[in-house]
Symmetry: C3
Subunit: 138 residues, 3 copies
Protein backbone atom coordinates (compact mmCIF):
# COMPACT_ATOMS: atom_id res chain seq x y z
CA UNK A 1 0.00 0.00 0.00
CA UNK A 2 1.20 3.47 -0.92
CA UNK A 3 0.27 6.63 0.94
CA UNK A 4 0.61 10.32 0.13
CA UNK A 5 0.07 13.48 2.20
CA UNK A 6 0.01 17.16 1.39
CA UNK A 7 -1.30 20.36 2.97
CA UNK A 8 -2.85 23.08 0.83
CA UNK A 9 -2.83 26.59 2.32
CA UNK A 10 -5.37 29.38 1.82
CA UNK A 11 -5.76 32.97 2.95
CA UNK A 12 -9.02 34.37 1.63
CA UNK A 13 -9.63 38.06 1.08
CA UNK A 14 -13.14 37.94 2.56
CA UNK A 15 -14.68 36.27 5.60
CA UNK A 16 -16.59 33.78 3.44
CA UNK A 17 -15.42 32.41 0.11
CA UNK A 18 -15.62 29.31 -2.11
CA UNK A 19 -12.50 28.18 -3.96
CA UNK A 20 -12.40 25.41 -6.55
CA UNK A 21 -9.43 23.30 -5.47
CA UNK A 22 -9.93 20.45 -7.95
CA UNK A 23 -6.78 21.28 -9.98
CA UNK A 24 -4.57 21.27 -6.83
CA UNK A 25 -6.10 18.00 -5.67
CA UNK A 26 -5.55 16.44 -9.10
CA UNK A 27 -1.92 17.60 -8.96
CA UNK A 28 -1.56 15.81 -5.60
CA UNK A 29 -3.00 12.63 -7.08
CA UNK A 30 -0.56 12.82 -9.99
CA UNK A 31 2.39 13.29 -7.60
CA UNK A 32 1.27 10.33 -5.49
CA UNK A 33 1.50 7.86 -8.36
CA UNK A 34 -1.50 6.05 -6.87
CA UNK A 35 -3.72 4.41 -9.50
CA UNK A 36 -6.40 2.68 -7.37
CA UNK A 37 -7.52 3.76 -3.91
CA UNK A 38 -9.24 6.47 -1.88
CA UNK A 39 -8.47 10.16 -1.60
CA UNK A 40 -9.46 12.08 1.53
CA UNK A 41 -9.62 15.86 1.39
CA UNK A 42 -10.57 17.65 4.61
CA UNK A 43 -10.48 21.08 6.17
CA UNK A 44 -7.97 21.09 9.05
CA UNK A 45 -9.88 23.97 10.66
CA UNK A 46 -13.32 23.73 12.23
CA UNK A 47 -14.73 26.87 10.65
CA UNK A 48 -14.11 25.75 7.07
CA UNK A 49 -15.41 23.03 4.82
CA UNK A 50 -14.41 20.83 1.92
CA UNK A 51 -17.35 19.80 -0.24
CA UNK A 52 -18.25 18.72 -3.76
CA UNK A 53 -20.71 20.67 -5.86
CA UNK A 54 -21.07 22.77 -9.02
CA UNK A 55 -18.61 25.46 -10.13
CA UNK A 56 -21.32 28.03 -10.81
CA UNK A 57 -21.24 31.54 -9.33
CA UNK A 58 -24.98 31.94 -9.04
CA UNK A 59 -25.14 28.77 -6.97
CA UNK A 60 -22.34 30.00 -4.72
CA UNK A 61 -24.30 33.19 -4.05
CA UNK A 62 -27.30 30.97 -3.27
CA UNK A 63 -25.15 29.02 -0.78
CA UNK A 64 -24.08 32.32 0.84
CA UNK A 65 -27.65 33.59 1.24
CA UNK A 66 -29.00 30.21 2.36
CA UNK A 67 -26.31 29.61 4.99
CA UNK A 68 -26.77 33.14 6.31
CA UNK A 69 -30.47 32.35 6.74
CA UNK A 70 -29.82 29.00 8.47
CA UNK A 71 -27.00 30.29 10.70
CA UNK A 72 -26.63 34.09 10.54
CA UNK A 73 -23.29 35.69 11.35
CA UNK A 74 -24.95 38.42 13.46
CA UNK A 75 -25.93 39.43 16.05
CA UNK A 76 -22.68 38.07 17.47
CA UNK A 77 -24.07 38.06 21.00
CA UNK A 78 -26.80 35.61 19.98
CA UNK A 79 -24.22 32.80 20.25
CA UNK A 80 -22.72 31.60 23.53
CA UNK A 81 -19.50 30.66 21.73
CA UNK A 82 -18.98 34.32 20.92
CA UNK A 83 -17.94 35.38 24.43
CA UNK A 84 -14.33 35.57 23.23
CA UNK A 85 -14.77 34.90 19.49
CA UNK A 86 -17.14 36.07 16.74
CA UNK A 87 -17.23 32.97 14.58
CA UNK A 88 -19.92 30.69 16.05
CA UNK A 89 -21.88 31.01 12.80
CA UNK A 90 -18.85 29.65 10.90
CA UNK A 91 -18.86 26.47 13.02
CA UNK A 92 -22.55 25.96 12.21
CA UNK A 93 -22.20 26.74 8.49
CA UNK A 94 -19.34 24.27 8.22
CA UNK A 95 -21.51 21.61 9.91
CA UNK A 96 -24.08 21.97 7.12
CA UNK A 97 -21.51 21.88 4.32
CA UNK A 98 -19.31 19.13 5.81
CA UNK A 99 -15.67 18.77 6.84
CA UNK A 100 -14.40 16.34 4.24
CA UNK A 101 -14.89 14.41 1.05
CA UNK A 102 -13.71 10.92 0.19
CA UNK A 103 -13.19 10.39 -3.53
CA UNK A 104 -12.53 7.13 -5.37
CA UNK A 105 -9.29 6.95 -7.34
CA UNK A 106 -9.61 4.86 -10.52
CA UNK A 107 -6.91 4.53 -13.19
CA UNK A 108 -4.95 7.33 -11.54
CA UNK A 109 -7.82 9.84 -11.75
CA UNK A 110 -10.50 11.28 -9.47
CA UNK A 111 -13.51 9.08 -10.25
CA UNK A 112 -16.03 11.88 -10.74
CA UNK A 113 -19.42 12.37 -12.35
CA UNK A 114 -19.78 15.06 -15.04
CA UNK A 115 -20.10 18.14 -12.80
CA UNK A 116 -18.33 17.18 -9.59
CA UNK A 117 -15.77 19.72 -8.41
CA UNK A 118 -14.05 19.98 -5.02
CA UNK A 119 -14.41 23.26 -3.12
CA UNK A 120 -12.76 24.80 -0.12
CA UNK A 121 -15.52 26.61 1.74
CA UNK A 122 -14.19 29.32 4.01
CA UNK A 123 -16.54 30.73 6.66
CA UNK A 124 -14.06 32.64 8.86
CA UNK A 125 -11.23 33.69 6.60
CA UNK A 126 -8.67 36.45 6.15
CA UNK A 127 -6.02 34.30 7.80
CA UNK A 128 -3.78 31.32 6.92
CA UNK A 129 -5.75 28.09 6.99
CA UNK A 130 -5.19 24.69 5.45
CA UNK A 131 -6.65 21.60 3.88
CA UNK A 132 -5.25 18.08 4.08
CA UNK A 133 -5.02 15.77 1.08
CA UNK A 134 -4.28 12.16 2.01
CA UNK A 135 -4.32 9.33 -0.52
CA UNK A 136 -3.97 5.59 0.08
CA UNK A 137 -3.89 2.81 -2.48
CA UNK A 138 -1.62 1.25 -5.05
CA UNK B 1 -4.79 -4.53 -1.93
CA UNK B 2 -7.88 -5.35 -3.98
CA UNK B 3 -10.19 -2.74 -5.46
CA UNK B 4 -13.65 -2.93 -6.99
CA UNK B 5 -15.77 -0.39 -8.87
CA UNK B 6 -19.35 -0.33 -10.07
CA UNK B 7 -21.89 2.26 -11.18
CA UNK B 8 -25.55 1.92 -10.19
CA UNK B 9 -28.05 3.75 -12.42
CA UNK B 10 -31.39 5.29 -11.43
CA UNK B 11 -34.21 7.07 -13.20
CA UNK B 12 -36.83 8.12 -10.67
CA UNK B 13 -40.48 8.70 -11.56
CA UNK B 14 -40.73 11.85 -9.46
CA UNK B 15 -38.47 14.86 -8.89
CA UNK B 16 -37.66 13.76 -5.35
CA UNK B 17 -37.43 10.17 -4.17
CA UNK B 18 -35.62 7.94 -1.66
CA UNK B 19 -34.50 4.48 -2.75
CA UNK B 20 -33.05 1.84 -0.44
CA UNK B 21 -29.96 0.63 -2.32
CA UNK B 22 -28.56 -1.60 0.44
CA UNK B 23 -29.24 -4.86 -1.46
CA UNK B 24 -27.41 -3.59 -4.59
CA UNK B 25 -24.48 -2.38 -2.50
CA UNK B 26 -24.30 -5.74 -0.70
CA UNK B 27 -24.26 -7.47 -4.09
CA UNK B 28 -21.30 -5.30 -5.11
CA UNK B 29 -19.47 -6.25 -1.93
CA UNK B 30 -20.11 -9.93 -2.59
CA UNK B 31 -18.82 -9.60 -6.18
CA UNK B 32 -15.68 -7.81 -4.96
CA UNK B 33 -14.56 -10.70 -2.77
CA UNK B 34 -13.19 -8.13 -0.32
CA UNK B 35 -13.37 -9.27 3.33
CA UNK B 36 -11.73 -6.34 5.19
CA UNK B 37 -11.64 -2.74 4.03
CA UNK B 38 -13.69 0.36 3.28
CA UNK B 39 -16.63 0.81 0.94
CA UNK B 40 -17.36 4.24 -0.54
CA UNK B 41 -20.79 4.90 -2.01
CA UNK B 42 -21.37 8.36 -3.50
CA UNK B 43 -23.76 10.19 -5.78
CA UNK B 44 -21.97 11.08 -9.04
CA UNK B 45 -24.39 13.98 -9.54
CA UNK B 46 -24.48 17.14 -7.47
CA UNK B 47 -28.26 17.24 -7.04
CA UNK B 48 -28.49 13.81 -5.41
CA UNK B 49 -27.32 12.25 -2.19
CA UNK B 50 -26.25 8.94 -0.70
CA UNK B 51 -26.97 8.69 3.01
CA UNK B 52 -27.63 6.18 5.78
CA UNK B 53 -30.84 6.25 7.78
CA UNK B 54 -34.01 4.30 8.57
CA UNK B 55 -36.15 2.51 5.96
CA UNK B 56 -39.41 3.96 7.27
CA UNK B 57 -41.91 5.73 5.00
CA UNK B 58 -43.16 8.17 7.60
CA UNK B 59 -39.59 9.34 8.19
CA UNK B 60 -39.05 9.78 4.44
CA UNK B 61 -42.14 12.02 4.29
CA UNK B 62 -40.68 13.95 7.23
CA UNK B 63 -37.41 14.36 5.29
CA UNK B 64 -39.39 15.66 2.29
CA UNK B 65 -41.33 18.23 4.32
CA UNK B 66 -38.28 19.28 6.35
CA UNK B 67 -35.99 19.76 3.34
CA UNK B 68 -38.71 21.72 1.56
CA UNK B 69 -38.85 24.01 4.58
CA UNK B 70 -35.06 24.44 4.76
CA UNK B 71 -34.56 24.87 0.99
CA UNK B 72 -37.88 25.22 -0.88
CA UNK B 73 -38.07 24.26 -4.55
CA UNK B 74 -40.08 27.40 -5.39
CA UNK B 75 -40.24 30.21 -6.26
CA UNK B 76 -37.60 29.26 -8.82
CA UNK B 77 -36.59 32.88 -9.32
CA UNK B 78 -35.57 33.16 -5.66
CA UNK B 79 -32.31 31.42 -6.57
CA UNK B 80 -29.56 32.98 -8.69
CA UNK B 81 -28.56 29.54 -9.97
CA UNK B 82 -31.97 29.26 -11.61
CA UNK B 83 -31.24 31.67 -14.46
CA UNK B 84 -30.91 28.72 -16.81
CA UNK B 85 -31.89 25.84 -14.49
CA UNK B 86 -34.62 25.17 -11.94
CA UNK B 87 -32.75 22.93 -9.52
CA UNK B 88 -30.91 25.23 -7.10
CA UNK B 89 -32.98 23.77 -4.25
CA UNK B 90 -31.72 20.29 -5.16
CA UNK B 91 -28.09 21.42 -4.71
CA UNK B 92 -28.95 22.76 -1.25
CA UNK B 93 -30.99 19.72 -0.18
CA UNK B 94 -28.16 17.43 -1.20
CA UNK B 95 -25.74 19.53 0.88
CA UNK B 96 -27.83 18.82 3.98
CA UNK B 97 -28.14 15.08 3.30
CA UNK B 98 -24.55 14.54 2.10
CA UNK B 99 -22.85 13.24 -1.04
CA UNK B 100 -21.38 9.99 0.21
CA UNK B 101 -21.07 7.35 2.88
CA UNK B 102 -18.00 5.36 3.87
CA UNK B 103 -18.84 1.99 5.38
CA UNK B 104 -16.51 -0.46 7.13
CA UNK B 105 -16.25 -3.92 5.57
CA UNK B 106 -15.74 -6.67 8.16
CA UNK B 107 -15.76 -10.41 7.42
CA UNK B 108 -17.05 -9.68 3.93
CA UNK B 109 -20.11 -7.75 5.16
CA UNK B 110 -21.22 -4.14 5.58
CA UNK B 111 -20.41 -3.46 9.22
CA UNK B 112 -23.74 -1.92 10.20
CA UNK B 113 -25.72 -1.20 13.34
CA UNK B 114 -29.22 -2.67 13.65
CA UNK B 115 -31.17 -0.12 11.54
CA UNK B 116 -28.58 1.28 9.14
CA UNK B 117 -29.67 1.22 5.50
CA UNK B 118 -28.11 3.03 2.53
CA UNK B 119 -30.36 5.34 0.50
CA UNK B 120 -30.10 7.10 -2.80
CA UNK B 121 -31.71 10.48 -2.27
CA UNK B 122 -32.86 12.04 -5.54
CA UNK B 123 -33.70 15.77 -5.52
CA UNK B 124 -33.85 16.47 -9.25
CA UNK B 125 -34.88 13.24 -10.91
CA UNK B 126 -36.83 11.93 -13.91
CA UNK B 127 -33.56 11.34 -15.77
CA UNK B 128 -30.68 8.84 -15.82
CA UNK B 129 -28.33 9.42 -12.89
CA UNK B 130 -25.80 7.24 -11.16
CA UNK B 131 -24.08 6.26 -7.95
CA UNK B 132 -20.52 5.00 -7.59
CA UNK B 133 -19.59 2.03 -5.42
CA UNK B 134 -15.85 1.69 -4.82
CA UNK B 135 -14.36 -0.83 -2.41
CA UNK B 136 -10.75 -1.22 -1.32
CA UNK B 137 -9.25 -3.84 0.99
CA UNK B 138 -8.28 -7.46 1.05
CA UNK C 1 -2.82 -4.21 4.65
CA UNK C 2 -3.74 -4.25 8.34
CA UNK C 3 -7.22 -3.66 9.66
CA UNK C 4 -8.60 -2.94 13.12
CA UNK C 5 -12.12 -2.79 14.51
CA UNK C 6 -13.62 -1.72 17.81
CA UNK C 7 -17.01 -0.68 19.16
CA UNK C 8 -17.31 2.12 21.70
CA UNK C 9 -20.46 2.08 23.85
CA UNK C 10 -22.33 5.05 25.33
CA UNK C 11 -25.36 5.55 27.55
CA UNK C 12 -25.99 9.25 27.99
CA UNK C 13 -27.84 10.71 30.96
CA UNK C 14 -29.86 13.13 28.84
CA UNK C 15 -31.69 12.86 25.52
CA UNK C 16 -29.11 15.03 23.76
CA UNK C 17 -25.42 15.20 24.63
CA UNK C 18 -22.00 15.79 23.05
CA UNK C 19 -19.08 13.64 24.20
CA UNK C 20 -15.46 14.19 23.19
CA UNK C 21 -14.31 10.70 22.14
CA UNK C 22 -10.89 11.71 20.79
CA UNK C 23 -8.94 9.98 23.60
CA UNK C 24 -10.78 6.66 23.04
CA UNK C 25 -10.24 6.90 19.28
CA UNK C 26 -6.54 7.62 19.80
CA UNK C 27 -6.33 4.58 22.07
CA UNK C 28 -7.84 2.47 19.25
CA UNK C 29 -5.27 3.82 16.82
CA UNK C 30 -2.45 2.96 19.22
CA UNK C 31 -3.79 -0.58 19.69
CA UNK C 32 -4.05 -1.06 15.92
CA UNK C 33 -0.35 -0.47 15.32
CA UNK C 34 -1.29 1.20 12.02
CA UNK C 35 1.08 4.02 11.02
CA UNK C 36 -0.32 5.13 7.62
CA UNK C 37 -3.92 4.79 6.50
CA UNK C 38 -7.51 5.93 7.09
CA UNK C 39 -9.60 5.79 10.23
CA UNK C 40 -13.40 5.64 9.97
CA UNK C 41 -15.47 6.52 13.02
CA UNK C 42 -19.25 6.28 12.62
CA UNK C 43 -22.39 6.14 14.71
CA UNK C 44 -23.96 2.67 14.39
CA UNK C 45 -27.36 4.18 15.24
CA UNK C 46 -29.37 6.46 12.99
CA UNK C 47 -30.31 8.97 15.69
CA UNK C 48 -26.72 9.79 16.63
CA UNK C 49 -23.77 11.43 14.96
CA UNK C 50 -19.99 11.42 14.90
CA UNK C 51 -18.53 14.76 13.90
CA UNK C 52 -15.42 16.89 14.26
CA UNK C 53 -15.55 20.33 15.81
CA UNK C 54 -14.38 22.41 18.77
CA UNK C 55 -14.39 21.21 22.40
CA UNK C 56 -16.04 24.37 23.72
CA UNK C 57 -19.15 24.29 25.90
CA UNK C 58 -20.63 27.52 24.64
CA UNK C 59 -20.47 26.19 21.09
CA UNK C 60 -22.16 22.96 22.15
CA UNK C 61 -25.04 24.98 23.66
CA UNK C 62 -25.19 26.88 20.35
CA UNK C 63 -25.44 23.55 18.51
CA UNK C 64 -28.28 22.50 20.84
CA UNK C 65 -30.28 25.69 20.30
CA UNK C 66 -29.59 25.78 16.55
CA UNK C 67 -30.58 22.15 15.92
CA UNK C 68 -33.72 22.62 17.99
CA UNK C 69 -34.60 25.54 15.73
CA UNK C 70 -33.88 23.61 12.50
CA UNK C 71 -35.59 20.38 13.62
CA UNK C 72 -37.52 20.82 16.90
CA UNK C 73 -38.16 17.82 19.13
CA UNK C 74 -41.80 18.85 19.72
CA UNK C 75 -44.65 18.76 18.99
CA UNK C 76 -44.10 15.02 18.51
CA UNK C 77 -47.23 14.71 16.36
CA UNK C 78 -45.76 17.12 13.79
CA UNK C 79 -43.69 14.22 12.42
CA UNK C 80 -45.17 11.24 10.57
CA UNK C 81 -42.37 9.01 11.87
CA UNK C 82 -43.68 9.58 15.39
CA UNK C 83 -46.71 7.32 15.05
CA UNK C 84 -44.94 4.70 17.14
CA UNK C 85 -41.78 6.59 18.12
CA UNK C 86 -40.93 10.09 19.39
CA UNK C 87 -37.51 10.57 17.82
CA UNK C 88 -38.09 11.88 14.28
CA UNK C 89 -36.26 15.07 15.25
CA UNK C 90 -33.20 13.00 16.20
CA UNK C 91 -33.04 11.49 12.68
CA UNK C 92 -33.11 15.01 11.20
CA UNK C 93 -30.57 16.48 13.63
CA UNK C 94 -28.18 13.64 12.91
CA UNK C 95 -28.57 14.31 9.16
CA UNK C 96 -27.30 17.86 9.68
CA UNK C 97 -24.36 16.81 11.88
CA UNK C 98 -23.37 13.72 9.86
CA UNK C 99 -23.00 10.00 10.52
CA UNK C 100 -19.25 9.58 10.23
CA UNK C 101 -15.79 11.04 9.95
CA UNK C 102 -12.83 9.75 7.99
CA UNK C 103 -9.49 10.82 9.43
CA UNK C 104 -6.05 10.46 7.91
CA UNK C 105 -3.54 8.43 9.92
CA UNK C 106 0.04 9.73 9.55
CA UNK C 107 3.04 8.45 11.54
CA UNK C 108 0.67 6.52 13.79
CA UNK C 109 -1.36 9.59 14.78
CA UNK C 110 -4.67 11.22 13.88
CA UNK C 111 -3.63 13.80 11.29
CA UNK C 112 -5.51 16.76 12.78
CA UNK C 113 -5.45 20.52 12.57
CA UNK C 114 -4.98 22.51 15.81
CA UNK C 115 -8.57 22.38 17.15
CA UNK C 116 -10.03 19.24 15.60
CA UNK C 117 -11.70 16.92 18.13
CA UNK C 118 -14.02 13.98 17.48
CA UNK C 119 -17.45 14.06 19.12
CA UNK C 120 -20.22 11.58 19.64
CA UNK C 121 -23.44 13.53 19.19
CA UNK C 122 -26.39 11.86 20.87
CA UNK C 123 -29.89 13.01 19.88
CA UNK C 124 -32.01 10.21 21.39
CA UNK C 125 -30.07 8.89 24.34
CA UNK C 126 -30.60 7.36 27.77
CA UNK C 127 -29.94 3.90 26.35
CA UNK C 128 -26.98 1.78 25.21
CA UNK C 129 -25.73 2.89 21.81
CA UNK C 130 -22.45 2.46 20.00
CA UNK C 131 -19.86 3.87 17.66
CA UNK C 132 -17.66 1.90 15.27
CA UNK C 133 -13.94 2.58 14.86
CA UNK C 134 -12.42 0.89 11.84
CA UNK C 135 -8.86 1.51 10.69
CA UNK C 136 -7.11 0.26 7.56
CA UNK C 137 -3.51 0.81 6.50
CA UNK C 138 -0.02 -0.36 7.30
Amino acid sequence: MKSYRKELWFNTTSRRQYINITPEVERCLGESGIMEGFLLCNAMHITASVFINDDERGLHRDFERWLEKLAPEKPYEYYEHNGYEDNADAHLKRSVMGREVVVAVTNGELDFGPWEQIFYGEFDGKREKRVLVKIIGE
